[in-house]
C-alpha cells in the first residue's frame, strides 16, 4: 500500500485507473461468481493487496470454501460462456457488490445468473445497476468480510444463513430508459406532440387568454365616453369679480374659477383643477381663511393656487381657459399648466382680468 490510509474514493479511483475498460465490459457480473474460486488465487497476490478488490476476492474465495449454497455452483456451467475471465473486471463497485451477493447465496445470484442465457447484454446492466444502488450498505459487509478473512471461524458471517444478513430481494430489472432507445420507431415526433390532449388544452387556454387580453386592451378605448366634454363655457368674465373664487363648476366639472391679482401682481382670471397635488383629494375652498385646504393630509394653498402649508409639494394645476368668440369664457380641461414647470406664463392658462 503506497498511502498509509487511503479513503474509499482513493481506492476506487485507483482501481478504475488500473482497469479503465471495466465500465464498458458487457458480460454479466453475476457470471463471475462461479469462476471466483479460480480467479481468487490470481488476484490475491496482486500488486495492491490492500485494495477493496483484493479483499473481496478473498471473501469470494472464502465464501466458496465455507460452503456457500450450491446454487451458484450448479449454475456455473451455464455462465462460463462469459467471453473474458472474471478477475480483471473486479474493479468497479458494482462488480464488488455483485460478487458479495453471489458469495452470499443463490437468492441474489439466481435471477441474475439465469438471465445471461436469454439475453446477455441487458442482463449485464440489470445486474450492475441495482448492485451499485446498494453500495452504501456494502461497506459494513466489507468490514465484516475483512474480519472474516482474519479468523477462519467467523467466515460464517458471509454465509447466507447468518441472521445479520437478511437475504436480499431479487434484483429488479431496470426499466428501459428513454435515453437508450435509438431514434426511430416509437419516439414521438414534434407533430405527434402537437396532437396530444395536454398540448391541445394549453393551446386553447393560451388562445383564450390572448382573446381576453385583446378585449381588455379594447376596453381601454371605449366607443362612447360617459363624461362631460373637456371643453365647456362658463359664462362671461363679468360673472367672476376680482378677489373671488367661484365654486360654481366644482361639483360638475372639478374646477375653481379664480379671479385674483395675488399671483405676481397680475390681474388674471384662471381655472384651477380641484385636485390636490399631494395625493389627489379634492380640497375645500375656505372663504374665511382665503385658502384651499385639503381634508386628507392638511395641505393648504393660497387663493392663487400656490401651496404654502402641509405636504403638497407644488401648486394646484391650472387648466386651459380662453375667451370664446361669443364673449363667454371657455375652459379646456384637456390641457394642464404647472407652475413649477413655468407653464403658468402660457397665455392659454389665463385670461386678462380686466375683462370682468
Amino acid at each position: 500500500m503506497s498511502e498509509p490510509k487511503p479513503s474509499t474514493a482513493d481506492i476506487l479511483a485507483k482501481i478504475r485507473a488500473a482497469k479503465p475498460s471495466v465500465g464498458s465490459d458487457a458480460p454479466a457480473p453475476a457470471t463471475e461468481t462461479p469462476t471466483a474460486e479460480a480467479a481468487a488465487p490470481k488476484v490475491a497476490p496482486a500488486a495492491k493487496p490492500g485494495s477493496t478488490g483484493d479483499i473481496l476476492a478473498a471473501i469470494r474465495a472464502q465464501g466458496a470454501k465455507s460452503g456457500a449454497p450450491a446454487a451458484p455452483a450448479t449454475e456455473a456451467p451455464k455462465t462460463t460462456a462469459a467471453p473474458k475471465p472474471a478477475a480483471p473486471k473486479l474493479g468497479s463497485t458494482a462488480d464488488i457488490l455483485a460478487a458479495i451477493r453471489a458469495a452470499k447465496g443463490g437468492a441474489a445470484a439466481g435471477p441474475a445468473s439465469d438471465a445471461p442465457t436469454a439475453k446477455a447484454a441487458p442482463a449485464a446492466k440489470s445486474a450492475s445497476v441495482p448492485a451499485s444502488s446498494g453500495a452504501k450498505l456494502s461497506v459494513e459487509e466489507m468490514l465484516k468480510a475483512v474480519r472474516g478473512e482474519k479468523s477462519a471461524e467467523t467466515t460464517a458471517i458471509v454465509s447466507p444463513t447468518t441472521p445479520v444478513k437478511p437475504a436480499l430481494p431479487p434484483i429488479p430489472v431496470k426499466p428501459p430508459s428513454a435515453k437508450d432507445k435509438k431514434a426511430g420507431t416509437d419516439r414521438r415526433s414534434f407533430v405527434a406532440i402537437c396532437f396530444t390532449p395536454l398540448f391541445f388544452a394549453f393551446a386553447l387556454m393560451a388562445a383564450t387568454s390572448l382573446n381576453w387580453l385583446l378585449a381588455l386592451a379594447r376596453f381601454m378605448f371605449p366607443n362612447v365616453l360617459v363624461e362631460p366634454p373637456t371643453k365647456f363655457k362658463i359664462g362671461p368674465a363679468s360673472d367672476y369679480p376680482l378677489g373671488g373664487v367661484s365654486t360654481k363648476w366644482l361639483a360638475a366639472r372639478g374646477v375653481w374659477i379664480v379671479h385674483t391679482d395675488q399671483y405676481k401682481g397680475q390681474n388674471l382670471i384662471y381655472a384651477l383643477a380641484s385636485v390636490c397635488t399631494h395625493l389627489g383629494c379634492t380640497p375645500n375652498w375656505l372663504e374665511g381663511e382665503q385658502k384651499y385646504k385639503c381634508p386628507c393630509h392638511g395641505s393648504g394653498f393660497y387663493i392663487n393656487g400656490v401651496n404654502f402649508e402641509g405636504p403638497a409639494p407644488r401648486p394646484l394645476e391650472r387648466v386651459g381657459i380662453k375667451l370664446a368668440s361669443d364673449g363667454q369664457l371657455e375652459v379646456d380641461k384637456s390641457v394642464k399648466f404647472q407652475e413649477e414647470m413655468g407653464q403658468w406664463a402660457d397665455s392659454n392658462s389665463f385670461v386678462d382680468g380686466t375683462l370682468a
Binding site: 361639483a251 383629494c281 379634492t282 375645500n284 374665511g288 381634508p295 402649508e309 409639494p313 413655468g342
Partner: protein, 471 residues
C-alpha cells in the same frame, strides 16, 4: 325605565344645546357600563380574598391587619352604588353632575394631546416610562388597577358630546377595542418576561422550558381552534347586527369627505404622508417596513430569548421593535383616529370639530433655508430652458438636501459603527451592519422629520417638484 320614557324625559328637559354633554340615554347606558365594572371587580375581590394577602392599616386608623380583599370589596360596592344611581336617576342629569368629566380636566387633557408635538412627546415619554417601570407595571394588581382606571376614564369621558362623537363612531369601535387588546398583550409580555428574568437572575431556566408538556394537535389544538372560530364568528354576527355599517353617500370624484380617513390600520401611513412625499411614505417606507421585518432574523445575532419570554436578554431588539410598534404605529393610529379632524387638523378629544380651526402650518424647504439664509435667491434656470439646462440648476438648488441625506444614510452608519454600535459592528460584519443601521435610521427618519416639521417648519430635505422627487 324604557326607551320611550327616556325620550320623553329628554324632550321635557327641553335642552337648547344641540350638542348636549349628558342626556338621559347616555347616563342610562353608563349605568350598565358601571354595572359591568362592578361585576368585574366582584370577581377580582373574590380572587383577592382567596389569595389571602393582607396589609396593615396606618396607626391613626388602628394599625390592624386587613385583607386586601376589603379594599376591592369597598371599591366594588362603590361601583354598584354609582351604577344604581345612574340607572335610576338617568332622567335627572343634575343629580349625576359628580360623575362627569370636570372641565378643568378636559382642558388639561386637550392641551396635552391636541397638538401633534405634545402628543408625540406624551407617547414617547410614556413609552420610556413603561420600560423603566416594567417590573412594577407587570404586577397583576397594578395591571388590574390600570384597566380599571382606563375604563373609568372612558366612562366619565363618555359624558362629553365631542368625545362620544369620535369614540362612538361605528368606524372607531374596533380601534377602542384594539387599544385595550394592545394594552393587555403588552402587559402580558412584560408579566411573563419579568418572571423569566427573575428566574434567570436566580440561575434557573425559563419557565417555558419547565412546562413544556406536549399536547396533541388532534384533538387539543384543533378543538381550541374550532372553539375560537365559532366564538369569533358569533361575535362578528352580533357586531354586524348591533352596529350598522357606517355607509356614506355615493362617492364622488369632486367631493372628498372632511376629514378623509384611511382604514384604521393604515392611519399610521396616512400620518406618515403628512411628513413625507407620497412615493416615500406610501411606497418606499411600507416596503422597507416589510423588508426590514423579514430581515430581522438575518440581522439578529443574539441567540438568547429563543422560544421564551424575556426582556433583559434582548433589551435592544425588544425596545427597538416596541418603539416602532407602540409610539410610531399604534400611536399614529390613535392620532389619526381620535385626534385628526376636519382639514386634517389636530383636535383634542373633548374639542369640537371646527372646520374653520386655524393652524399655522407654513412650511419651508431646506433649500430655501439654505439659500435665503445666505441672502441669495434660489438658483433658477432661465425661463423656457430645456431639461439639460435646468438640471444643473435644480441639483445646485437642492444640493444641501442631497448632502444631508448622504451623510444621514452613508456617513452616520460608520460613525455609529465606531461609537455607539461598536459591539454590533464587530459582531455583524460590514454588510449586515450597513443593512441594520440603515433600517434603524429609516425608522428614526419618521420621528426625526416630525420633530423638524414642528420645530422649524421643515417641509422637504430635497424638494424637486419638477421631477416629482421630494424627500
Amino acid at each position: 325605565m324604557n326607551a320611550l320614557s327616556l325620550m320623553t324625559s329628554c324632550l321635557t328637559l327641553g335642552s337648547t344645546d344641540p350638542h348636549p354633554n349628558v342626556t338621559p340615554s347616555v347616563l342610562y347606558g353608563l349605568g350598565w357600563l358601571y354595572l359591568i365594572l362592578f361585576a368585574m371587580n366582584s370577581v377580582w375581590t373574590w380572587r383577592s380574598f382567596h389569595r389571602g394577602r393582607h396589609f396593615r392599616l396606618p396607626k391613626f386608623m388602628g394599625g390592624m391587619e386587613m385583607p386586601n380583599a376589603v379594599v376591592w370589596a369597598m371599591y366594588s360596592m362603590a361601583l354598584l352604588l354609582v351604577s344604581v344611581t345612574h340607572l335610576t336617576c338617568a332622567s335627572v342629569p343634575e343629580a349625576l353632575r359628580w360623575f362627569v368629566m370636570p372641565d378643568g380636566a378636559k382642558a388639561a387633557i386637550d392641551f396635552a394631546v391636541a397638538d401633534a408635538r405634545r402628543y408625540f412627546a406624551v407617547t414617547t415619554f410614556g413609552f420610556i416610562g413603561m420600560l423603566l417601570l416594567r417590573n412594577w407595571l407587570a404586577k397583576p394588581s397594578v395591571g388590574w388597577v390600570l384597566l380599571n382606571l382606563s375604563l373609568l376614564f372612558l366612562c366619565v369621558s363618555l359624558t362629553d358630546w365631542d368625545f362620544r362623537q369620535i369614540v362612538g363612531k361605528p368606524d372607531n369601535v374596533p380601534i377602542v377595542a384594539m387599544l385595550f387588546i394592545v394594552g393587555f398583550f403588552t402587559w402580558l409580555f412584560f408579566y411573563r418576561a419579568n418572571e423569566n428574568d427573575r428566574r434567570a437572575a436566580l440561575g434557573k431556566g425559563p419557565i417555558e422550558a419547565e412546562n413544556n408538556e406536549k399536547v396533541l394537535t388532534w384533538p387539543d389544538l384543533v378543538y381550541t381552534e374550532m372553539i375560537c372560530m365559532i366564538a369569533v364568528t358569533a361575535l362578528l354576527i352580533l357586531w354586524g347586527i348591533a352596529l350598522q355599517a357606517p355607509l356614506e353617500e355615493p362617492a364622488s370624484a369632486v367631493k372628498t369627505p372632511n376629514p378623509s380617513k384611511a382604514p384604521w390600520y393604515f392611519l399610521g401611513l396616512q400620518e406618515m404622508l403628512v411628513y413625507y412625499d407620497p412615493w416615500l411614505a406610501g411606497v418606499v417606507f411600507p416596503s422597507v417596513i416589510l423588508g426590514g421585518m423579514m430581515a430581522i432574523p438575518y440581522i439578529d445575532f443574539n441567540k438568547l430569548g429563543n422560544g421564551y419570554y424575556t426582556f433583559n436578554e434582548r433589551k435592544f431588539a425588544i425596545t427597538t421593535f416596541m418603539f416602532g410598534f407602540l409610539p410610531l404605529w399604534v400611536g399614529m393610529i390613535i392620532l389619526g383616529t381620535f385626534l385628526r379632524g376636519p382639514n386634517w387638523n389636530v383636535f383634542g378629544i373633548y374639542e369640537f370639530w371646527d372646520v374653520h380651526k386655524l393652524e399655522a402650518l407654513n412650511n419651508v424647504n431646506l433649500s430655501e433655508y439654505f439659500w435665503y439664509g445666505l441672502g441669495q435667491p434660489l438658483p433658477m434656470a432661465p425661463a423656457g430652458s430645456d431639461f439639460w439646462t435646468q438640471a444643473p440648476y435644480i441639483l445646485l438648488r437642492e444640493f444641501v438636501g442631497f448632502v444631508a441625506i448622504g451623510v444621514y444614510l452613508g456617513v452616520l452608519p460608520m460613525v455609529m459603527a465606531m461609537t455607539v454600535f461598536k459591539k454590533f459592528f464587530l459582531r455583524m460584519g460590514f454588510l449586515r451592519f450597513m443593512v441594520f443601521s440603515n433600517l434603524v435610521l429609516m425608522m428614526a427618519a419618521l420621528p426625526l422629520k416630525m420633530v423638524l416639521r414642528w420645530a422649524v417648519n421643515l417641509k422637504y430635505f430635497v424638494a424637486i417638484p419638477e421631477w416629482f422627487f421630494n424627500v
